[in-house]
Symmetry: C2
Subunit: 355 residues, 2 copies
């Protein structure tokens, strides 16, 4: 098992494929075959495996077919020296990371995340995953990449929309961490690709700080990264929202509940609600495809209809209750046990609050 901290390379140019040596397999999102600049880089890898991104890629059912093809393509290489380079967003990273982790008991993994969300979050911390029986991430490993390349021209080439979809994880990390990241998030003039690139090193560093204290979620500390995710997962599953957008709403829910539960005092609450980053996030939302999305709309269902998603989340914990991340103030999260039934009055209360 490598260290849980991957070596980070923030680069303004594509790394030369030669630097990965002769025994390399590139697993990449086939969408890049249509992007001439990326495609010409991809073609420098003699052995490559193109995949279609999305949750279907992560299906356990089709894993043997993928794996057999990958073994066949690489059978003449030394398993000891083999490096697997994975170019893509979250689903490609989850899949490629899992392949690297089980290929002859594990080969060197190098991530090149191609979306803001994967660059900030999923490429770091070693979670790999496949889906099974219609449920996400039922099968997987903890297998951190040896190196992660953050390639400026790749990330900046994304549609602006992808930037908005990453705000949930960005704001989550800033609220969990407080300090320099939180200050910098408030200080940037606007939230766009340029400022996301500036914030990226700090966001990643804060994630590693938490991951390293509890790499395999044995102590409950890594659970802090679930801030905003409990209701975020509910919104994601129920409405089919992109992960980052759902988490943004989940964060709002969690902050509001933190105040109601008394974890956050009124002064801190008011300060947070008026913080500059919120205004910028709201502005970014208004310029995105999600401009009509509101907490009121998300909470317009009967509270009871969210219960089954919450029950699902509960099974991931070792206790009888859900472990919910509350916030005292930026940099001071608190984990508390909450019963699924406790959500119902809070959802009802927030329905009228946001209404």
């Amino acid at each position: 098992m490598a260290s849980f901290s991957s070596r980070l390379n923030f680069v303004s140019q594509w790394p030369s494929p030669k630097k990965f040596g002769d025994d390399v397999l590139l697993i990449y999102d086939r969408i890049f075959d249509r992007h001439p600049k990326v495609a010409s880089w991809v073609k420098q890898f003699p052995i490559r495996y193109a995949v279609k991104s999305g949750e279907d890629l992560k299906s356990l059912q089709s894993f043997p077919v993928h794996m057999n093809t990958i073994l066949q393509k690489t059978h003449h290489l030394s398993a000891r020296r083999l490096k697997i380079v994975v170019l893509g967003g979250g689903s490609v990273g989850d899949f490629g990371g899992f392949v690297a982790s089980v290929y002859k008991r594990g080969v060197e993994l190098i991530h090149i995340p191609s979306t803001w969300l994967s660059a900030m979050d999923s490429a770091h911390g070693g979670k790999t995953a496949l889906n099974a029986r219609g449920a996400k991430n039922q099968v997987g490993t903890f297998y951190p990449a040896k190196e992660v390349y953050l390639v400026k021209p790749l990330l900046l080439a994304q549609p602006a929309e992808r930037g908005f979809e990453a705000l949930g994880e960005l704001i989550k990390m800033a609220l969990l961490a407080g300090g320099p990241l939180y200050r910098k998030l408030n200080a940037v003039s606007t939230l766009n690709a340029g400022t996301l690139w500036q914030l990226l090193p700090l966001v990643i560093r804060e994630k590693y700080k938490i991951v390293q204290k509890d790499p395999e979620e044995k102590k409950g500390l890594r659970h802090l990264l679930n801030f905003g995710h409990t209701m975020g997962h509910v919104f994601e599953a129920h409405y089919g929202l992109p992960h980052g957008v759902a988490v943004l709403a989940g964060l709002q829910f969690a902050m509001e509940w933190s105040y109601q539960k008394g974890f956050m005092n009124q002064k801190d609450y008011l300060k947070l609600m008026q913080a500059k980053f919120w205004q910028k996030a709201v502005k970014a939302k208004q310029q995105s495809a999600w401009k009509n999305l509101s907490m009121l709309a998300l909470l317009s269902e009967k509270p009871q209809s969210f219960v089954r998603y919450l029950e699902q989340d509960k099974k991931k914990t070792s206790s009888q209750d859900l472990r919910f991340v509350f916030l005292k103030n930026p940099g001071k999260p608190v984990i508390a046990e909450v019963k699924v039934q406790d959500f119902l009055p809070e959802i009802a209360r927030q329905q009228s609050f946001w209404g």
Copy 2:
């Protein structure tokens, strides 16, 4: 990642299934349904998954079907608390260990090896594996069991034949380790179930000593455990011999070559050839189904016909050559790089030596 040293429990009675808690899945060799004593123990596990042992169980192709069934059987349990108890020999252990390692990114694994070979070797050190494309162990993880139970009545109930098939790994460990294990192996009156049980704790301890220095085979130290295995794998693949029997022959080949190459001096060589454990191993062989097996018979093919197996082995290393474990004397192994072509004259020489 747990420590690579599993907690060992040498017990003279079956452990109570209750001690594993409520969230437990038993994966077991279905052959035990026909053994009333074991079957009554098995039936105390409310959730269990019976498998047919053998290499087919380890097929990557059928893994999704197994895994989906296992997820379905356990979906109501807490993934955080889940323990997977695996009762069986090598193939069941390799499979069950892999399942535990990827079940929601890893749950607690408990091995109860049911054969001498798995009790001495494969249940320890964390190697899990599936087969793919007709080749063994192409997919797998390093995932040590939290605990291993060595259950005396289970191991002693095996046919005597299984004891003989474990001698290869036992003698290998004694030659690698030297010291107390080597002396004790020479001192026991005979090699039977009773003395195997006596030797078991020492054999396992010596394996962990090597594994802990290089748990994931990154430094080449763990490669020492391959002593006798290079030609052993050739014999196993070419003649379909049981692993332990093939390793026994592989050890003879390696010791003979060690002397020829000058790693072992004549005095040590003669002493080793006359060591008491050899006489006991020969006696055990004469009483086994393998009494007619000889090095001469194994080496009766054209040396060239073994090349493809050796080429296969070579790909596992990071160098251009094969890494072969030689012996100076008991407790003093030496790893040296050998070209595949170097085997041909040595095989030819041993053909006439054993003839």
